[in-house]
């Protein structure tokens, strides 16, 4: 079948595509903040734990500093998340009616088991220093971190179910849950959960490392700055290679359950026998059904995706034209993600070398590199999500329910106007939110030299309760 159907052409701006654009826009803004919160919450729990264990004050200085950035990120995440929880209904009524009996339930579980836990203990964590004891406060911080992880669990269960559905039947044109365990632990779930959780830690790790590098470049050499830089690099050294291994396993899983997505990611049209080459770069063309200007490396495609010299990978032409994901987007977003992954690996390895040579805090070129890579976690995260979500098209529930069936019966004007409102409001509000986060990072952790002068304990406590005085002033 050599279809030249319009469904494979670039989107035109009807109500459906405006709704898709709106979802892509709002969810992309949203995901950045939870990712920061997930990684940062765990970091904060570690910092407070170290402070309790060692009694070193710089751990608390660091905690107070990063908890402010965490708070802004968390607030932005909640606010942009409220939009998401209503958008399924406003724009995607068809999907909600069909899939609500399963995805709606998973979302309810997320709110019940995770959001309340986070929100309930966040107040104590941020405002409770003088209201509860040290251990109770530490408990609150750990609960916030656990909450963010539970939240990741549920939302990825829901997303993974949409990617690789199982454990359901269809009754009266709606999903009917047969086996909740199968639904939650669907085939792609473990891989996606691991990949996303590590990604969130990497996002936070690079923000912390870059902030440390920035202040090292500015000449600060106090403990909170050095420790932030060093701890983040240790963690990234551990997680970056791990993430590459997990990503690879995730790829194998996708090849098994969503072969069309893999074909689109690789810009692969024909099913080649005796080993598939990897398109390093190129321009996939949905109309011409070929990838133009491709630079290929023989056998590498098979090697990466099947872990064998001449494993077979299905090409896009195996799938009817109306079932193919839009290759030009996923081809490139995947390469951005993977390319950044390689750069990250380079960075952490350089870090090890410098550390061995005792130059970690002095190598300015390296610190500039780290500052530059500060947003790399976020960019890779977004590129990865675009790859997996665009790669799922044209389905919302893979192989079961099409995106075109999912939209609400709205006209293009309504969706267009609301999109316009969201674009303006988001850039205005979250733009400023990001600006303040950067401003906070730019000021750096307060450093009280606890050895030089020992103020009255009560005064000292006071200064710790109100770190923003030092920062705002």
């Amino acid at each position: 079948m050599r279809g030249r159907l319009s469904s494979t052409a670039m989107p035109i701006l009807d109500a459906l595509h405006l709704a898709r654009l709106q979802f892509a826009f709002t969810v992309s803004f949203h995901i950045v903040f939870p990712a920061i919160s997930i990684g940062m919450a765990a970091f904060l729990a570690v910092l407070e734990g170290l402070w309790l264990k060692t009694g070193k004050d710089y751990y608390k200085d660091m905690f107070l500093f990063w908890s402010k950035i965490f708070a802004v990120g968390f607030g932005m995440g909640v606010v942009s998340g409220v939009v998401m929880s209503y958008e399924f209904g406003t724009n995607w009524g068809g999907f909600s009616t069909f899939a609500g009996p399963i995805t709606g339930v998973l979302l309810t579980y997320e709110v019940l088991t995770a959001f309340f836990l986070e929100a309930g203990f966040l107040g104590v964590m941020l405002f409770g220093w003088d209201k509860v004891g040290r251990r109770a406060h530490f408990f609150a911080t750990v609960m916030v971190a656990v909450g963010t992880l539970i939240s990741t669990f549920w939302i990825l269960a829901s997303n993974s179910f949409m990617q690789t559905p199982q454990g359901y039947s269809i009754v009266d044109g709606k999903l009917y849950p047969q086996d909740w365990l199968k639904i939650i632990f669907n085939p792609s779930f473990p891989y996606r959960l691991a990949h996303m959780t590590i990604a969130a830690f990497i996002v936070a790790g690079f923000l912390v490392a870059a902030t440390g590098a920035y202040h090292l470049l500015k000449g600060r050499r106090d403990e909170p700055v050095k420790r932030s830089f060093s701890m983040a690099l240790w963690m990234l050294l551990l997680l970056t290679p791990l993430q590459i291994v997990v990503g690879d396993a995730h790829g194998l899983n996708t090849r098994q359950y969503q072969p069309a997505k893999i074909a689109a990611i690789e810009g692969l049209w024909e099913t080649e026998h005796g080993g598939t080459a990897l398109n390093l770069v190129g321009l996939p063309d949905m109309q011409a059904e070929q990838t133009k200007y491709a630079i290929q490396i023989p056998h590498l495609g098979s090697l990466i995706l099947t872990h064998s010299w001449d494993g077979e990978i299905k090409g896009l032409k195996e799938f009817p034209a109306q079932d193919r994901p839009y290759s030009p987007i996923v081809f490139w977003t995947f390469r951005i993600m993977a390319g950044l992954g390689m750069l990250m690996l380079l960075l952490v390895l350089l870090g090890v070398l410098l550390r061995k040579g005792g130059k970690l805090y002095e190598a300015r070129w390296f610190q500039r590199f780290v500052v530059l890579m500060g947003p790399s976690g976020i960019i890779a995260l977004l590129a990865g999500w675009i790859t997996t979500e665009v790669g799922r098209q044209p389905w919302t529930v893979y192989g079961v329910f099409r995106t075109s069936q999912s939209a609400s019966p709205l006209d293009a004007q309504q969706v267009g106007v609301s999109l316009l409102i969201f674009v303006v409001v988001y850039f205005l509000v979250f733009g400023t939110g990001v600006y303040y986060m950067l401003k906070l990072m730019g000021k750096g952790p307060t450093h009280v030299d606890h050895h030089a002068a020992h103020p009255h304990p009560a005064l000292e406590n006071r200064a710790m309760f109100r770190p923003q005085d030092a920062i705002d002033g």
């Binding site: 399924f88 339930v105 309810t108 709110v111 309340f116 941020l126 409770g128 849950p177 004007q413 509000v429």
Partner: protein, 290 residues
């Protein structure tokens, strides 16, 4: 004033998310018809919530632009409340549904009645806010709130009266529900208790009972929603969708019920602890972010 809610803020925001998510899980059809039918008010409500939520986090970090964030907080809160009221009003009017899909026009929600409901909800929330501040503050601010409590409760009573009459005149089915047969005898406690609560608030203000106005305000809100449910029952979206038709299948419901039964008590316990930790008055020089 913002300090009085700061510690419990995120928990309360979470209830907004739960509202969306629980509706989605338990009544997918309601979720996917009520929301598109009220598309514009909901989009504006979300925009309002964004401004309000962001302003809450950011105003303390701002230096030169703090008054702008205050404005964003006030405007956003008012807009979000107003839009919620509009949605409730449009729900009372009824929504045109065919085959589990919204089949009305984009501006069906817009009517003098729904606009009035929007304003009514503003008054309702203002009453509650006034009661809350009486509990959490002292001195000049508390005095000002005490003197505001009576007039605003009076306005709230007028609003409730107006909406009641308007609904009964405009919706014969609802009039039948309240006044048909012996129903009025059963439902009479609702309006009677509303009047009693208002009287209680007046008395509490005179006697300077700090906690009573807020609690009675909450009770009035509860009575309002009771009246609302009595009016539309067993419909969840009048005039055609009943709660039984809208409910998700038993298996989905059961799974939610199990989760809720286990988790809700735990949530209530730590929410209580949280309010307990942050009980008492909030003062000018308290540590805090805001």
């Amino acid at each position: 004033m913002l300090n009085t809610v700061a510690p419990v803020w995120d928990g309360n925001e979470t209830f907004m998310v739960l509202g969306g998510a629980a509706l989605y899980g338990a009544f997918p059809v309601v979720y996917s018809t009520l929301l598109p039918a009220n598309y514009m008010p909901l989009v504006l409500m979300l925009a309002g919530l964004i401004f309000r939520g962001a302003a809450f986090e950011l105003r303390s970090k701002a230096t030169r632009t703090q008054h702008l964030w205050d404005l964003a907080f006030i405007g956003g809160s008012a807009l979000a409340t107003f839009c919620q009221g509009v949605v409730l009003g449009s729900l009372l009017q009824g929504i045109h549904i065919v085959d589990d899909k919204f089949a009305g026009a984009p501006f069906d929600w817009l009517s003098p009645f729904s606009i009035f409901c929007g304003l009514g909800l503003l008054v309702t929330y203002a009453t509650l806010g006034c009661g809350w501040l009486i509990i959490k503050t002292e001195g000049e601010l508390q005095k000002a709130m005490y003197s505001l409590m009576k007039p605003i409760t009076g306005v709230l009573l007028l609003v409730i009266l107006a909406i009641s009459i308007w609904t009964v005149l405009g919706q014969p089915a609802i009039a039948q529900r309240w006044f048909g047969g012996h129903n009025l005898i059963w439902f009479a406690p609702v309006p009677v208790l509303v009047l009693a609560s208002a009287w209680g608030i007046f008395r509490a203000v005179n006697k300077q009972h700090e906690h009573v106005p807020f609690r009675l305000g909450l009770f009035m809100l509860f009575l309002g929603y009771s009246g609302f449910i009595i009016s539309i029952w067993p419909n969840i979206i009048p005039p055609s969708l009943t709660i039984w038709q809208a409910a998700a299948n038993p298996k989905s419901q059961l799974f939610i019920l199990v989760g809720t039964a286990i988790v809700l008590p735990i949530i209530l316990v730590y929410s209580y602890l949280q309010y307990h930790v942050f009980r008492g008055k909030v003062r000018e020089n308290d540590p805090g972010y805001h």
